[in-house]
Symmetry: C2
């Protein structure tokens, strides 16, 4: 999404986020600093800071007001990624070796804890008690989301409802909180805070659904990892849930999905079965519905460039990378 | 320490802490709930809640005022223990299987993250912004302390200064914060807050030093684990640092301490060398000095039963379990 022109609205701001992130992750311990810097430099879309900044700008606040929050949000996101890499034993993320692969389990675990604690220290600079409170409750729910994913691995009985609940906690919640907290940091009224929360929630849902689709259909080079990693880990996402219900070759699909060590050929076979019965189209259709709902929320925001960007972004989530 | 009569002052309060802890760790996910409950029921001295409660009472506040904080402090402590067990691959803690041994790495990691986030949610109920801020900065420094320990493993060049810095972050800091935050929650003035912080800091230092001594000389049954676990993990504690400087059999000690896989006999041999040159007595002497400093701080606190208990506790830290 970095390439799209709309995103340029926040490019300069995101550079400040980047500089502040590097300052924040600096630690007295050289190895910890190095690992945290590696994480920052591995890049990422900085979606959460961008949404917090756009939300704040939309409500009339300057960058300074929202910068600590924006950085804290990205640090919380990075903390979850580094712990996820320990759990998944992922050697590579975004085409670079993970902290886990390079520095091992202990340091990854501590780096995650460190980033999380640092982020809370950073938001403690705000007077508004809602900010740490929302961040803490968001984090609690995000962990619960991780556990749903763990418990649901290789569970072919997983329902659409389970899936939506899981991706809400895993992804949509922190994006929703980013928008909501951006508005709170800007001193916005209850209405704008609520509309921004629901904008972020709906956009976040669409974002994760398309992410799950990309895991099946993207160009591996652009994805930064081989396709089918969810299938390999037994994570049953929306296209698979749809196919399990609607594929004419359900039996074959069940056998392949339940298999613990799928070969590369089997992964491609599963993806073909999912594509053939319309699982990808169904998922993208649902993502589109969430994006339409996000737009309905954006209508109520104060007019201006920030709102136009928030609105515009909803048109790009669906098509990125496909 | 639970047995000592002074502790009875807070027994009824600690029972409320226990009940609230069980309520707090309850989660929608049954496995997470189970693991967290297992952690709570594994017990522990509940030192941090006890200090927070005593500090608050000392400053004239009722239990209700400090209860959420007391529970949050124990949850942060539990979060660090459960992550430590992942890192150390510890099968047993306090004589019971660890969460790591029973539910595996993923769940242990998530349980730690969950407890930490829940604790921050709990302290968000306080209006005073110093409370989340101090807890966040304490957590940041505690992680740094863990990293010092990691970096210093099997490092025989470790100095007294390194050791004191490490145990301050590992243990004394959270006990100091417990006392300090108890006073803040009670609405105490700056002076009392400061005296309670320094009381906790000094007592915490003495507590960790005696803990490190106990790891060499305690009855394994009372300790709940075999003795010499620090030596086995290459953690060089105060008695060893002293012995490395003063033992007449320094060469032998260096060889044994540096050895990665020590046999049970070698562990006992190291402990004997340390005892023989007075390493245990030296460590206990230093602990005594910290306790004397803690008492000097307690003198300035408001008179009453809570202060008497805080004062009394300093006399029992040194002798527990030996």
């Amino acid at each position: 999404m970095k390439e799209l022109p709309l995103w340029q609205e926040v490019q300069a701001d995101l550079q400040e986020v980047e500089a502040e992130l590097l300052r924040q992750v600096d630690a007295p311990d050289p190895v910890l600093s190095q690992a945290a810097r590696h994480l920052v430099q591995a890049g990422g879309k900085r979606l959460r800071p961008a949404f917090a900044i756009l939300a704040a700008k939309c409500c009339g606040a300057p960058l300074e007001r929202v910068l600590p929050l924006a950085v804290a949000l990205e640090m919380i996101h990075m903390a979850t990624l580094v712990h996820d890499d320990v759990i998944d034993a992922s050697p590579v993320r975004r085409g670079r070796p993970t902290v886990w692969a390079r520095w091992g389990q202990e340091l990854s675990l501590h780096t995650g804890d460190y980033l999380f604690a640092r982020s809370l220290l950073l938001v403690a600079t705000y007077d508004d008690p809602r900010i740490p409170s929302i961040l803490a409750s968001t984090s609690v729910k995000m962990v619960q989301g991780e556990l749903y994913q763990l418990a649901g691995a290789f569970d072919l009985e997983v329902t659409l409802r389970d899936y939506l609940k899981r991706i809400y906690r895993k992804t949509a919640l922190l994006i929703a909180a980013s928008c909501q907290l951006g508005a709170i940091a800007a001193g916005a009224g209850e209405d704008f805070i609520r509309h921004l929360y629901h904008y972020g929630r709906n956009l976040g849902m669409a974002f994760q659904i398309t992410d799950d689709v990309l895991d099946m259909v993207a160009d591996p080079e652009r994805l930064g990892k081989p396709i089918g990693s969810d299938l390999r880990q037994g994570v049953i996402t929306l296209p698979a849930i749809y196919a399990l219900r609607c594929s004419p070759k359900k039996q074959k699909l069940v056998c392949l999905l339940a298999k613990r060590d799928k070969t590369a050929t089997e992964i491609l076979e599963v993806i073909d079965l999912i594509k053939d019965c319309g699982g990808i189209d169904y998922a993208l259709g649902l993502a589109e519905r969430y994006l339409a709902r996000a737009r309905q929320q954006a209508i109520f925001l104060p007019e201006g460039q920030a709102r136009d960007t928030l609105m515009g972004l909803t048109y790009f989530v669906r098509t990125r990378g496909i």
